[in-house]
Amino acid sequence: MPATADTVLLEIRDVSKRFSKRLDVVERVARAMGAAVREHTVHAVDCVSIDVKAGEVVCLVVESGCGKSTLGRLACGLHTPSGGEVRYRGKPVEVPAALWGDAGRARPPIQMIFQDPFASLNPRMRVEEIVGEAPRVHGLVKPADVGAYVAEILLRVGLDPSARRRYPHQFSGGQRARVGIARALAVKPEFLVCDEAVAALDVSIQAQVLNLFMDLRESLGLTYLFISHDLGVVRHLSNRVVVMYLGRVVESAPTDELFAKPNHPYTQALLAEVSRLDRRRRTYAPISGEIPSPLNPPTGCHFHPRCPHAMARCTEEAPRLREIAPGRHAACHLND
């Protein structure tokens, strides 16, 4: 299917994901006898909508505990949303096996690259098996050609094909990140979800991997949803930025506009906070407080306890995400 610049590949529509801790026997009995015991529910992702167009690099900026990995997993169908819908080229992605035809043997066009290059590779498998297993299962290559195919993919991510008989522990961190990328590329995806894919790497290795992502984007026409907390990486890589706070989208804008003129107080605070090479001997003036627990989020706007502009209204009413300029959205009562 040819993708033009305006085709929306991935549509995340009002998606929510809640995790509940089931009550144990004692608690259930206690509740039956009238005690005020409730299930604990975490709203990891709360009514989030994101569109990703073909060829775009969309970065999600999320601090830990605000639902970043959950959203990444929702986007590639590893989690089933509790509400809303994730669609890829107009088809829902929740049940990958049944959906992509031929009893799940057709290649899934969305692949995920995980944060930790140490934990996401099976230590007992050779690189050849790690990279070659999925295309073989999906019938992309004949079993006899797997070796040559793996060699080709390894070359593409900048690894020596002669290393394909090795195990993950025989590689350095940067090489392992490349193996993870090779594994994702092996099934010829159109869309990559990268969950903090460069966060664990050293600066010089990180630069190499970022360059690899940009090269692959050009040579293979890939689309990325890049989840990161590193604003330097985000600014370097993305066309559009979506900022989330405690499971909700607070701002979404083209990258240049967001960095030039952040609208939401949280985005402003994040940008003020980021360390930069050109800021010397500066005095740090941090935003106060910490991210509240998603088990018990603040009422109204989630950011109000830390916000310098909080008004009475912010504690009561959650602001809706509204268009504030063409292509820019923000959820803040200050825009009214």
Partner: protein
Amino acid sequence: MKLLEVTDLVTEFHTREGVLRAVNGASLALERGEILGLVGESGSGKSVTGFSILGLIDPPGRIASGSVRFDDLELLGLPEESMRRVRGKRIAMVFQDPMMTLNPVLSIETQMMETVFAHEATTPQDARRRAIEALARVGIASPGERLAQYPHQFSGGMRQRVAIAIALLHKPELIIADEPTTALDVTVQGQILYEMQKLVRESGASLIWITHDLAVIAGLADRIAVMYAGRIVEEGPVAEVLDAPLHPYSRGLLDSVPAANAGAGRLNQIPGMAPSLLRPAPGCAFRERCTRAEDRCCDPPALTQMNGRAVRCCNPLQGA
């Protein structure tokens, strides 16, 4: 007189594959009240340098040679008993992972009072008062109540504050901080940097901030020392080193940072990866990855001093 002078420090680890020189002739100097940023990638020996200063190298590691002068005291070869009087009292350390430094089965109160009693014979009331003061100083709300809690009841940022509070209990003259903000979120990292900067300025202590993040150093430090393969390859005032690095490795590191001022172009990456320290090739350790390498780089380059800066390179940038 300098507060700390490390000269030609060599720290080795004896492994099955051979002797690994994690620190290979590193030299550093630190004035009172100065903040030094020690920058390097994983495996460059920056943390081992920090541990060596405090004498925290256990077998199979050992400090093979060199000198660590702290004030008027030579720390290398100091008997363990005397070293213990310095460690935690005059030199304190903050580690990367606060969950590893704090004992999970002891309350914060027990751990902080233990630290006070380790160096001072005082009353429990006084120790408790000082613990509360220290917690308040690092920005922990209601320190009296928090004191009775256990590490797991604190968030990551709060735990790191507790670790810093413990390090500050005895008003040390030198604090060595080993990547204390790496595991934290951006906004929390900003808060910790703010507290650290304030505390160092107020108390006049010196600080060695070990990190791989050049951007943090840019905002915090007075001087910067860049480490590569166990050696300091460049050292100087932060602004000068960041604006006009002399060593090709420093230049490469700076170019690798997805800078907030660059658009979506390719990053100017350093090719290859850090060499193994087990069997180092003779000559400059960066030679294999360097674009300016020449034949004479096969001889080990000496540290050249000029105008308050130092560089270990045969062919530094900007001529010279």
